[in-house]
Amino acid sequence: MGKATGFMEFKREDNPSFAPLERIKNFDEFHGELSEAKRRTQASRCMECGVPFCQAGTMIAGMASGCPLHNLVPETNDLVYKGNYEQAYVRLSKSHNFPEFTSRVCPALCEAACTCGLEGSPVSTKDNERFIIEYAYAHGLVKEPVPAVRTGKTVAVVGSGPSGLAAASQLNKRGHKVTVYERSDRPGGLLRYGIPNMKLDKRVIDRRIELMEEAGIEFKCNVNVGVDVTGDELIKQYDRVILTCGASNPRDIKVEGRDAKGVYFAVDFLKEVSKKLMDNDYDVEYLKSATDFSFGSLHGKKVIVIGGGDTGNDCTGTSIRLGASSVIQLEMMPKPPVERLASNPWPEWPKVLKTDYGQEEAIALWGSDPRMYQTTVTEFVKNKDGKLKGVKTVELKPEKDPATGRMNMKPVPGTEKELKADLVLIAAGFLGSQDYVSKSFGVDLDGRTNVATKAGLYETSKKGIFTAGDMHRGQSLVVWAIAEGRAVAKAVDESMMGYTNL
């Protein structure tokens, strides 16, 4: 199988991305596609490993290595190489419900664990996946299976993020009647409102939701479970309830001046921008000139993003598109190395410097990386009207706690600075689920405010109520959410039917 010498003959070539200064003019996806011939060449680089680490999805040193969905990467790569795209789609969809999402937003754990990446670059599995699913959509192959027989069982899924959608898709396929509740106006959860349109075009989600509706899944948007409808009502109405509400409770920066006007949470900011884009039929020009955002217009504004992660990067890219005059990203941790350290060997997740699209764009515009490492905010400075005018920062350095041996970041006296800012976006991670849902259902939480289950299981402290995704495991990746969604579907199916074939 495969081209045995492909990895020696061909170099990795990524899907082309549009030039930063061009792509910031709109909110469209910024990746193009390779030609079919080139795609096949890329797929031929797969080495058909006897032990494919890419599909292992095991935890090494506390981090996942390989695909949590256990996508059969060597097989799909081989099918692409051989030009058998339909079969590649069939193979991929056996382990994966929504390749169109992960092939756009996944950090590609498969590629980090790819044997080919041990020396040289990994196989471009993520781009291959995108090719497969887009080919399948273009050729009308993508269907949400409609069950031949309905079981008569009903399941409510609370939260329509990737994990809720995966659970719904699986359970519907099995013949259960699934109703998905979503408090926002459109389904998708963080896919919809957490990830900007540049990374995941919202029409990609619509396309999938339509198929799911056609297959019999009911979506109830604008229903805030725990507020508009109580947990008990759902419990009465459905045979099983699955809570997949995510971990959308943002971590705050509780320092002096936090009440300044102009400090926002990243999720709220990104949601507002995405919503306006969709509400106005993806009219980019309208969006760029809009002034009726809660934060006003960004034109000529200085933006500081607190947090150097993916969400921080999304804020950077979005701010640039909305006309910000400068963006600075503050990151507490030290700058990661460019290449793996000896202490972080393959196939562990590589803790290396990643320059994402927003940072690339900032560099293209202003000539330097927007990230400031080992820096944190000590105060939000406001003017007499209570309006934000800057932030006070201090540098940090790692220090080992003699008691626990853990590295903690400690402020360095004398490094205090003040940065000007018109807008601060807090992208400092998430703390856990918002507790009004769990309270409404009366399920127990664990120490990290996640909904508690037994290890490796999905049923909560209350019988018949299950949980999955970020709400269960804490803030994580889309691919984990889908994996959990599939797993909870299996657990729910088994609890209703006595066995499961999902």
Binding site: C49, V51, T115, E119
Partner: protein, 681 residues
């Protein structure tokens, strides 16, 4: 992690019967002592890269354990490094059916010589080295043709019975009396009986190889016919040897996915004294279990000869050493809890093993009672090793006591000696040859020592003799004549007063010159079956052969001045045979799969043939040779040249590249790439 794996190993069903009190771990023998019993697996140079092969050897030599050469021979440089500070030579030299590179020098450099009867992952089959891994440097070490697949024959052509095995053990012991002789068997039902036979045949070590030993290159058909777990074979061999009072003769070794100190502890309790590891040490050297060992595309530079990929090799001997020491460390912890100070005390204490308590319903139905049976009647102490009585041989009692011969070995002066021999004088000349090699690794000038023998040669006459030693027989000789000939010269002729025509009578037995690597043999008379099988460099003249002549030959010359039996030149991939085919029977008897039959026309060929025949006449006074040479022009058209097609093509390519001005070495490499290019991908 390894021990908790839910894989279906038999040992995962077992647990220890720890005594109420163990001993303090400080009383247990040291890790350094324990690792001396550890060995690495028999992976040939060819199957794995020079870098990986040497890393294993260096590591095991540091630890005073043993690495295994595998069946692919060993380069001169590495053999020369044996015993030096930077010892890169494998302590165990394997002798497999292919006999690749099994020379006197190779054998003399061994601390242990292993006869591979079979391997657990593919019993009943020999090694397979695909064409694209036979790079010129591999071919050189193996005395074969670059770019031509090397399929080791399933059987050893000199072993068709346990007596034959005993003979091979004797031959190898003679070829290096300082080395232990080990026999590698596969764990199978009945292996106990075989082991008993092997112990009686004189082996010092019996290796019971389990089926779960890996080879990333075994064909699917072999994987489906693998052996049994070592737990079964080991228990059976240990129990059978004890019941027959033979346990004291041999050391038992086992291998097959030994991964942890626990595995080793169980193996020791079931009766093993030494332990082989292969997969795990390779993983420490970077193996990522790609299972492309057969494709020459190993991205870690381990199971490949591709120079580009070999640059990726990241392994270091220290990694292997650490692995072995960690295994020993874990083993010591078990030993302390079980109350053993040394591994020797521990061997065979089956009563300390039991079936695990918390097995599932299905698992608990497996009956382990036969494996865990305790049998007595003998202890483990190696107190009755086999006596080869080598001091009684003519070699030791006469030749190696002869002052002239000893002086010749030392200084290269000439020596000649005449002895009478009878057909119980087995492996005649081999001990003498080994002594020559020991003192002169490259041998001596031709004919430095000549021994004239009168009478009947026993089995394995002149086996493995090196350059500089000439053995002449006036009379005849038994089977395995010139086995593994390593540069020496053998001459056989009938007595002048013989009442028979030598050219019409079989004067040497079956399987002559099996695995010969260099040297010359002139036989004025006919040979039996399987003449020159696996010859890879010797020049041999004979006046007729039985069936399967020149089978699997990879080099050298065979000149046959008489009839040939059927299946001639089967599997022949190198070298040339010239056959005087007076009755035009050869075409019918020839196995035409790999070889071409041509006329002897080119000037070079005619010249070469004539030179060989002239020597034959000179050495043996052969009536037939005289007749042919006297009428050379008349006889020449009756000769057929048998040459393997791929070999011919390669020679052609090499000469083409040489004409372009390349050095021979470069030309070989280019020719190799040109001939294998179509195979890749």
């Amino acid at each position: 992690m390894v021990d908790k794996e839910e894989t279906g190993y038999l040992r995962s069903l077992m647990d220890f019967n720890f005594p109420a009190e163990g001993i303090d771990i400080s009383e247990v023998e040291s890790e350094e002592e324990i690792v001396k019993r550890f060995k690495t697996g028999a992976m040939s140079y060819g199957s794995i890269s020079e870098e990986a092969h040497e890393a294993l050897a260096i590591a095991m030599n540091h630890l005073h354990g043993k690495s295994n050469s595998g069946e692919g021979g060993e380069s001169d440089e590495r053999i020369a490094s044996a015993g030096t500070k930077n010892d890169r030579s494998s302590a165990i030299k394997q002798v497999a059916s292919g006999r690749f590179g099994v020379t006197s020098k190779y054998l003399v450099s061994a601390r242990e010589i292993q006869i591979k009867m079979a391997q657990g992952a593919k019993p009943g089959e020999g090694g397979h080295l695909p064409a694209k891994k036979v790079y010129p440097w591999i071919a050189k070490t193996r005395h074969s043709t670059p770019g031509v697949s090397l399929i080791s024959p399933p059987p050893h052509h000199d072993i068709y019975s346990i007596e034959d095995l005993a003979q091979l053990i004797y031959d190898l012991k003679s070829a290096n009396k300082n080395a232990r002789i080990s026999v590698k068997l596969v764990s199978e039902a009945g292996v106990g009986t075989v082991a008993a036979g092997v112990a009686k045949a004189g082996a010092g070590v019996i290796l019971i190889s389990g089926y779960d030993g890996g080879t990333g290159a075994a064909p699917v058909s072999s994987i489906h016919n693998a052996g049994l777990p070592w737990e079964l074979g080991l228990a059976e061999a240990h129990q059978t040897l004890r019941l027959n009072g033979l346990r004291g003769r041999v050391i038992i070794e086992t291998d097959g996915k030994l991964m942890s100190g626990r595995d080793v502890a169980i193996a020791a309790l079931l009766g093993a004294e030494e332990f082989g590891f292969a997969t795990a040490p390779l993983v420490t050297l970077g193996c990522v279990m790609m299972r492309v060992c057969n494709l020459d595309t190993c991205p870690m530079g381990i199971a490949t000869q591709n120079p580009e990929l070999r640059k990726r090799f990241i392994g270091k001997p220290e990694y292997v050493e650490n692995f072995m020491l960690f295994i020993a460390r874990e083993l010591r912890e078990y030993m302390a809890r079980l109350g053993f100070r040394t591994l020797d005390e521990m061997v065979g204490h089956v009563e300390l093993l039991k079936k695990k308590d918390d097995l599932t319903e299905a698992e608990s139905r497996i009956d382990l009672s036969r494996i865990l049976a305790t049998s007595v009647a003998d202890d483990n102490e190696i107190d009755t090793p086999f006596d080869f009585e080598l001091e009684k041989t003519i070699d030791e009692s006469i030749l190696l006591k002869d002052k002239k011969i000893l002086a010749a070995i030392k200084s290269g002066s000439k020596a000649e000696k005449t002895v009478e021999i009878i057909n119980t004088d087995r492996a005649f000349g081999t001990l003498l040859g080994a002594e020559i090699t020991r003192k002169n690794p490259e041998g001596l000038p031709d004919d430095t020592i000549t021994v004239n023998c009168i009478g009947a040669g026993g089995q394995s006459f002149g086996a493995f003799i090196p350059k500089g030693l000439t053995l002449k027989i006036t009379g005849d000789s038994n089977d395995y004549f010139g086995k593994g000939l390593s540069g020496g010269k053998l001459i056989v002729s009938a007595p002048a007063n013989a009442a028979y025509e030598a050219e019409e009578n079989i004067i040497i037995g079956n399987v002559a010159l099996y695995g010969a690597t260099s040297g010359e043999a002139y036989i004025a008379g006919m040979a039996g079956e399987r003449f020159c099988v696996r010859n890879s460099g010797a020049i041999a003249v004979v006046e007729g052969v039985g069936e399967h002549g020149c089978e699997y030959m990879t080099g050298g010359r065979a000149v046959i001045l008489g009839p040939t039996g059927k299946n001639f030149a089967a599997g022949m991939s190198g070298g040339i045979a010239y056959v005087l085919d007076e009755d035009n029977h050869l075409y019918r008897n020839l196995n035409k799969d790999l070889v071409l039959m041509e006329k002897v026309e080119s000037k070079a060929d005619c010249q070469e043939l004539k030179e060989i025949l002239t020597k034959h006449l000179e050495y043996t006074d052969s009536v037939k040779a005289k007749k042919v040479l006297d009428n050379y022009e008349e006889y020449l058209p009756k000769f057929k040249k048998i040459i393997p097609a791929d070999y011919k093509q390669l020679l052609h390519l090499i000469s083409q590249y040489e004409e372009q001005g390349m050095s021979r070495e470069k030309a070989q490499i280019e020719a190799f790439y040109a001939s294998t290019a179509s195979n890749i991908g």
